[in-house]
Amino acid sequence: MANEIRTILATDCGSTTTKAILIQKQDGEYRLAVRGEAPTTVEAPFDDVTVGVVNAVREIEDLSGRKILDENGLIMRPMLDDKTGVDLYLSTSSAGGGLQMTVAGVVKAMSAESAERAALGAGAIIIDIIAVDDGRKDYEKVKRIRELRPDMILTSGGTDGGTVKHLVELAEMLLAADPKPRLGIGLKLPVIFAGNKSAREAVKETLQDKVDLKIVDNLRPSLETENLGPAREAIHELFLQHVMQQAPGYGKLSSWTDSGIMSTPNAVGKIIQTIAEQMGINVLAVDIGGATTDVFSVFGGTYNRTVSANLGMSYSICNVLTEAGITNIQRWVPFDVDEADLRNRLRNKMIRPTTIPQTLEDLRIEQSVSREALRLAFDHHKSLARTLTGVQQIRSVGDIMDQQATGQTLVKMMDLDMIVGSGGVLSHAPRAAETAYMMIDAYQPEGITMLAKDSIFMMPQLGVLSTVHPEAAAQVFDSDCLIKFGHVIAPTGTGKPGSVACTVTIDGHDKDYILGSMEVIPLGLGETKEVTIKPGKGLDMGAGRGKSITATVEGGTVGLIIDARGRPLALPTDKKQRINKLQEWHAALGLQASEE
């Protein structure tokens, strides 16, 4: 079937905008043809998501000259001729608050955490994590479960053949709370049980008439293994059957699509996994929006997603201020800024989210906030993307010197190959170097890492496409979606001020980079160079302290970036010195710190 597909239409219904893309096969390769957008129409007065979809598709029709909608406003399939219809229509959605879930487990750091990973990976926003050992009294948990009104609950716990009692108690807690779903007044709440298989009957008995119970394989069948797939599939299925059917117009939209509606973050996760697998690389991707920041990673083939529900650049901007603290935001601003003024500015951005920075100073302030939002969301991600806790390790005497605790983060910056940024503040930064610089400061990549952005945020559409036509998704991702900024070279470690952080040899020429400096070496899109990098004393490029590495690096819209500031990045504590340094780094990246 895949070979017959010549034209693909895909939409993503976001909270505010519905984005449509048209993909066409040209000269044997799938390429983005045009894109269109229109306001999302989930809210009154429309109360029907398909109105926005049709409007976005009409824009596609205008721009492409192709007739896609028939006289009834329905998408014509398959393609009739070169100017009529499409072969495939797919859609994703995050409108209406996305998928809100509560997860529960027996042990907070084990089954509850695995349940959290399963739900996040399926594209959910977690509104609470309940565990037998979470420190709250039972009545407090019952009250909380009752108040939250999630879209569904995922409950887990016990290895197969292990505890039954705690799982029955968790089920009793749900029964006690008698929770109701957020949407669909009078409907039963979907509950997924993905715990000890020996407890299934007891849980079923306890919850049978009260909730809409679905039983799937244990997501933690043994301490050493995590099996998130069945729970994630169940979440996706219930999302389509329950949540989406309650949202205005989604029943209709669902009937239009060729493969059901996928939640937007779930789709982004799919494309990230596809790319990591096809290219054999470790990837970190971020989507920073007005309300939330999503972080996706694939390390060594293991996929993780987290969402920081209250870290964003407009709606949640004041929460960034609260969580990071004013000092942490001020530290990135390359000029002196008054605290009270900064606070009122951020509040006014919160209530007037569509305004844009007019002055360079205002832009620098917004970009300073973004560094903190990205950093906090990444910290959250690192804490969850980790190896399983509670695993018993058998060690020989020889292993004792090389002990590693369980629960170590999987995010190893030295092993990271690519960071992909998306979302307003990163995608719409006026200069490419600004986006690259924000990502470098927030993530502090180590060794050699490619920096890139999603050109027009089409990862969701490509994600859902990757589930039915991976080849087309990968081709469009590579040709039209990704804009590469270039590799960044960053030795880790610290040294004496004024010492050499690294010596870089390109085309037979050596250059020393002093610790605390940055530089951009011109290297355009698609251009590559072989480089040898010798880290300074005490610094490391991944081969060990002071040991040289040789690699092929690639340029991009910014160039080859040398970040010789060391890791962890330390900013001067003295305000004047710090501002001087920030201005120096801006200049190194070809950026003005302020208009003066």
Binding site: A202, E205, N344, Q358
Partner: protein, 373 residues
């Protein structure tokens, strides 16, 4: 002088207001289409099932969970009173008894052989939804609630805190740029919705709450004063559930900003009228803005113009809502169709404006609010 408000926010002397009043769970609608309702009229009610109290019966009796059944004194569905014995064991020829009593009254809903627990569901708690405004029931949502409709003066603010309340409007300042201070508020204002100009001080807000003003409507508030008043910082723009006894509605934003003249004049014209106020704000898809509503029964005759359009044109009065000209008023002098490079480095659609102080400036169109005469 004109009046200003953000496009999308309504400041209207006469409009149709519809309020959906919905129960959190299915229940009973107690009014019918066409019924006249007052703010306090109950329009729908339901009962929220009580919480189930879990009693660790087998543990108390020193039994294994599966040994619980013979000790039971109740069955599923039985009504029980507080302190009633629900399970009991006897030992040593019946001389010693250990019993389990329910700490709450209710109905036995769970007896588990797996956990050895007994669950008693407490009695339901009634909840009611009131009409919130004066008006007529225009639609019944079966088992869920109603839509109340009224002709009303409506003022939507930009940000607020605190829930639904009622009170008479009292304007305490003489101009829209006069801040509301604590000295202006007296015990006579208890139960009133008081109106200030550019700003409310922290002390004034605290005094308003102490005296029992039901609402405060002002141009703006300084970030720090709001944090002090609430006792915590608002991180995300979802409000309305704060545990405060005075609802605050700001019409312009944070800092000290002259209240739009149109808003101020309308509030002044409504002085002494009974109003409904709600500070609930949600800024994202499904936007909810805080509001002050005075329904037609309370408006009387107001000779005010209908809403004017919000089309940006040469000569339009505007206010700039972002730095470097935040809060300054002006008139549009040019609307260049092509996107223009602005100092931040972005290329965006702009307008040229002559400011009240005589300066000619260029600003992104996204950064202005239209002002209406």
């Amino acid at each position: 002088m004109g009046t200003a408000y953000t496009p999308g926010l309504k400041v209207s002397p006469r409009t149709i207001v519809q309020k959906t009043r919905r129960l959190p769970l299915k229940g009973q609608v107690v009014v019918a289409v066409g019924d006249k309702v007052d703010p306090d009229t109950v329009v729908a009610r339901t009962e929220i099932p009580g919480i189930m109290q879990t009693i660790r019966a087998s543990e108390i009796l020193g039994l294994e969970p599966h040994e619980l059944m013979p000790a039971l004194k109740v069955s599923i569905g039985d009504k029980v009173e507080r302190n009633q014995v629900i399970a009991e064991t006897k030992s040593f020829f019946g001389l010693f008894k250990t019993d389990v009593r329910t700490p709450v009254a209710g109905v036995v809903e769970l007896i588990s052989e797996h956990s050895g627990h007994i669950g008693v569901r407490q009695v339901s708690a009634p909840i009611e939804v009131s009409a919130y405004i004066h008006g007529k029931v225009s639609e019944v949502l079966p088992d869920e609630g109603v839509v109340v409709e009224a002709t009303a003066a409506l003022i939507q603010g930009i940000f607020g805190v605190g829930g639904e309340r009622n009170g008479k409007i009292k304007v305490l300042v003489s101009s829209p740029d006069e801040p509301l201070t604590d000295a202006m508020i007296t015990s006579e204002h208890a139960g009133y919705i008081i109106v200030g100009g550019s700003n409310v001080s922290g002390a004034a807000l605290t005094k308003a709450a102490e005296i029992g003003c039901t609402g405060v409507v002002v141009g703006a508030i300084i970030d720090r004063d709001l944090i002090d008043f609430l006792g915590y910082d608002i991180g995300v723009a979802i409000t309305g559930q704060e545990d405060i006894n005075t609802t605050l509605v700001t019409t312009e934003g944070f800092g000290s900003i002259r209240m739009a003249d149109r808003t101020f004049k309308l509030l002044k014209s409504l002085e002494g009228k009974q109003a409904s106020i709600n500070g609930a704000t949600q800024i994202r898809a499904g936007v909810i803005r805080p509001e002050v509503i005075v329904t037609s029964d309370n408006i009387g005759e107001i000779a005010a113009p209908e809403d004017l359009g919000q089309i940006l044109d040469i000569g339009s009065h505007i206010r700039i809502i972002r730095e470097p000209y935040f809060g300054i008023l002006g008139n549009v002098t040019k609307l260049p169709p092509e996107p223009v490079l602005i100092p931040s480095g972005a290329t965006v659609r702009v307008l040229n404006a002559k400011l009240a102080d005589g300066r000619e400036v260029t600003v992104p169109r996204a950064n202005v609010e239209i002002i209406e005469e």
